[in-house]
């Protein structure tokens, strides 16, 4: 891993140069990606490092979001809390709410812990619509980013850099935290809480503290989001936000340090791009999650790190060629599957069925060709590609297995 610092420097340089490299829409996606990366990192601290699976992290994200939007309105971006420092409010409110919630929830572990976090989040979610002065009712609380420190904060670029700085600093702090004795104890809590208690540590206080720190960073992420969209609405407390962060973190790999961040960024980007391309992007998202959990249980980044740490002993060239062969065959299978799903979706869509009359099924345009739904061609094409891709994957796997056996 001696290239890690270099890789990190390149990534940061690319992130800084991003506004000059991509379009406005993509920069917009980048802001969202950074926010969900930070949120996933906050979750990763709790779930990956300390082994506490929270199903209610949207609560702390939401608390941060509302705190920031109210602070934005109260201070007008001046005085004690100029615009760039507003995420501090989100962090502070996240920390306080995390201390309270953590005190109760970390009294239990495992499933019971998850249930308590879920219950606390639902409590807030159910309460929010009733408190119109705090949560603003159905139309939400809105605000306006005011100029501060000579920066306008009107343009997307300013927002991007604000988000970037806060995200990088927060992730850096999380990294440093993981190196402190307290951060090391978090791992102990995950691996064997009983032994930790025998050693004389107060595991409840420890759990509460880690919970609160995780909630603090979730609050910062929430604050960044409400600064980005200049509003907060109680739908941010909905349970699907909590679920999304769990899925994202596990797809990225919850036990490796940057895994959740990359998972969050990748899945946000996926949603950004695919939701305008297809109506069934949620299905694809679900399929990706299932496949990652089935075949890469360590997550995408986790698997990558594992491969680099424990090379297969086949030499670099061979490993890369096997990897490429697998990716290529998977791409073929994926294309076949996507084709089938998209075609089926178009055939079943109400607009298409509106155009169908007695025995007359108009052609469907897909991937710049017209396909007749009653002919066997499109179905055979999709199924054939899918089957071919899967067959290729199996073949590659068999070869690798045969080689390993020959070596053994």
């Amino acid at each position: 891993m001696k290239y890690a610092p270099l890789l990190l420097l390149v990534t940061v340089a690319v992130l800084i140069a991003l506004p000059w490299l991509v379009s406005g829409s993509m920069l917009n996606a980048a802001v969202q990606m950074l926010i969900s990366a930070l949120f996933a990192m906050a979750f990763g601290l709790l779930c990956g490092q300390a082994g506490m699976l929270s199903f209610g992290h949207a609560a702390y994200f939401g608390v941060g979001a509302f705190a920031a939007v109210h602070a934005m309105n109260a201070f007008g971006g001046e005085g004690l809390l100029p615009t760039p420092l507003l995420p501090l409010v989100g962090g502070a409110s996240g920390l306080v709410s995390g201390l309270l919630a953590g005190y109760f929830s970390t009294k239990r572990t495992g499933v019971y812990f998850a249930m308590i976090t879920l219950a606390l989040a639902e409590l807030l979610h159910a309460l929010a619509p009733h408190l119109k002065t705090v949560f603003g009712g159905e139309a939400g609380v809105s605000s306006f980013r005011m100029p501060a420190w000579g920066i306008g904060f009107g343009s997307l670029n300013d927002v991007y850099f604000l988000t970037l700085v806060w995200t990088l600093v927060s992730i850096g702090l999380l990294y440093l935290f993981s190196k402190t004795p307290l951060g090391r104890l978090a791992l102990g809590l995950r691996e064997n809480a009983h032994r930790l208690r025998f050693l004389g540590y107060n595991t409840h206080a420890l759990g509460t503290l880690i919970f609160a720190i995780s909630a603090m960073f979730a609050g910062i992420a929430g604050a960044l989001q409400s600064m980005n969209i200049e509003a907060a609405n109680y739908v941010v407390l909905e349970s699907h936000i909590s679920t999304a962060v769990v899925l994202n973190s596990f797809i990225g790999g919850v036990r490796v340090f940057l895994g959740p961040a990359i998972g969050g960024a990748v899945m946000t980007f996926f949603g950004h791009v695919s939701s305008d391309l297809t109506r069934v992007w949620l299905l694809y998202q679900g399929i990706i999650f299932v496949l990652v959990m089935m075949f890469l249980p360590r997550g995408i980044v986790g698997e990558l790190v594992e491969r680099i740490r424990n090379p297969s002993g086949e030499g670099l060239a061979r490993t890369i060629s096997t990897l490429l062969a697998r990716l290529a065959s998977l791409a073929i299978a994926a294309f076949g599957a996507v084709f089938l799903i998209e075609f089926l979706q178009r055939v079943l869509s109400p607009e298409y069925r509106a155009g169908v009359t007695e025995g007359n099924w108009p052609d469907i345009a897909l991937f710049s060709y017209d396909w007749a739904p009653l002919s066997v061609l499109p179905w055979a094409f999709g199924l054939g590609l899918f089957g071919f891709g899967i067959a290729l994957v199996i073949m590659v796997n068999r070869r690798v297995a045969a080689r390993k056996e020959a070596q053994a």
Binding site: G24, S25, N28, A126, P129, A139, A231, N233, V236, R353
Partner: protein
């Protein structure tokens, strides 16, 4: 098929015409930022159908500045965060008008985003046509010059249904206000109490209950029974409406419901005979002005595959108004000037099959006639393939349906 061919032909012709004049004007881009995927997509897709339908009419009539109008579709993923993101994307792709309808939470975000964008980009404004967000504050505390609401709101819904039921002699003396405990339900409740005072009937009890969480409404039905109510006025939608009506019918209670969203697809199919005799106030009924309505119904069905229902007629009427306003705007060198369109929208007036429709300049709320209707077996057009449909009881003319401008609306007009 005839209509489709015709539509295709005109579309092709419009394209040719558009290509010829492309050198003069950029085509106008309209962005639909709607919920197109996920659990709330069904309503979003209805808005999409309605917008596409009426936009095809506008383009058949020549589009804008001689070029067909382009529709950009964006999926707001069901929430304000996605909507904020898509509004930015829409503006950066050159959209001058944003359309949205299926949620007041999203509407609240979009209207604020548009307001702030316009503040920061004076001279280059965009305009938001709110096809369906009914929360009062959108034309109240959150009202601004570039927001136009083309759907009724809580005040209009409640006042028209109570007026209509009163005139039909079915309102009774004792009213029960049963609503969901969030801003919409509270708006409906407040307006019910006010309207009851005006009509000289008594609100015997008001109840606010949890939103979409209650499975068993029988305790609430007992309270209706104990209050000896004649009519229940409710803003409930979806399950909260269905389960409430079913529980009431199950208890053998003889009360009428005055509702705002009974026509949501699936409601009548699900409730069946339970819905019979309940009332609804909305912007359209095909049995009013039957000749023109029938043409609209059939034309819409030919285009989308189903009769217009629920939010679709309202959205189509809103789009008609937008089309009318666009007719009187001259394109400038960089396309549409939103400030000109805003003025044109304030002055536009169209005749829909239900009567005249126009925007009120004070708060940009649409003024249109409302049709109070009853669920009945005698309806000409049935809902959800059941034997029930809606028969009009009373048409409330636009000027009578109009409700006062809210004091909280402080609209800053340019200049």
């Amino acid at each position: 098929m005839g209509f489709q061919k015709f539509a295709r032909g005109t579309a092709a012709m419009a394209l040719v015409l558009g290509a010829a004049t492309a050198a003069q004007a950029e085509p106008l881009k309209i962005a639909l930022v709607e919920t197109l995927s996920g659990p709330q997509a069904s309503t979003g897709l209805l808005y999409r159908d309605a917008v596409k339908y009426q936009l095809s009419k506008i383009n058949e009539a020549g589009g804008f500045g001689g070029a067909p109008i382009e529709l950009l579709e964006f999926d707001n993923q069901g929430g304000p965060v996605g909507a904020a993101d898509r509004v930015r994307a829409a503006i950066s792709e050159g959209a001058d008008i944003i359309l949205q309808g299926s949620s007041s939470a999203v509407a609240g975000q979009v209207t604020e985003d548009v307001r702030k964008y316009n503040l920061r980009n004076a001279g280059n404004e965009v305009l938001y046509v709110n096809l369906g967000g009914e929360a009062m504050e959108l034309t109240g505390a959150k009202c601004h010059y570039y927001h136009f609401r083309t759907t009724p709101n809580a005040a209009i819904r409640v006042n028209t249904i109570m007026d209509g039921m009163q005139e039909a002699g079915v309102l009774g003396e004792r009213i029960y206000a049963m609503n969901q405990n969030y801003s919409w339900g509270i708006d409906v409740q407040d307006n019910t109490v006010e309207a009851a005072g005006r009509l000289g009937v008594e609100v015997v009890e008001t109840t606010l209950h949890d939103v979409n969480k209650i499975q068993d409404f029988s305790p609430y039905v007992q309270r209706i029974q104990a209050a000896d109510a004649d009519t229940v006025i409710t803003g409930n939608w979806s399950n909260d409406l269905l389960l409430l009506m079913k529980a009431t019918s199950g208890a053998g209670l003889d009360v009428r419901f005055g509702t705002a969203f009974l026509d949501q697809p699936g409601n009548i199919g699900n409730a069946g005979a339970v819905a019979e005799g309940h009332f609804l106030s909305t912007t359209f009924n095909p049995e009013v002005n039957p000749e023109e309505s029938a043409v609209f119904m059939e034309d819409y069905k030919a285009f989308t595959g189903h009769y217009p229902s629920y939010v679709e007629p309202t959205a189509v009427f809103g789009m008609m108004l937008l089309g009318e306003a666009l007719k009187s705007v001259e394109p400038t060198e960089d396309g549409l000037n939103a400030a000109d369109l805003a003025v044109a929208l304030e002055n536009a007036r169209v005749e829909t099959p239900m009567g005249p429709v126009y925007i009120r300049a004070e708060d940009h709320q649409i003024v249109q006639s409302m049709i109070v209707q009853e669920v009945s077996r005698d309806a000409k057009y049935k809902s959800d393939d059941t034997e029930f449909g809606f028969v009009p009881i009373k048409v409330i003319a636009a000027e009578d349906a109009e409700q006062p401008v809210q004091d909280s609306c402080k609209m800053k007009r340019p200049g």
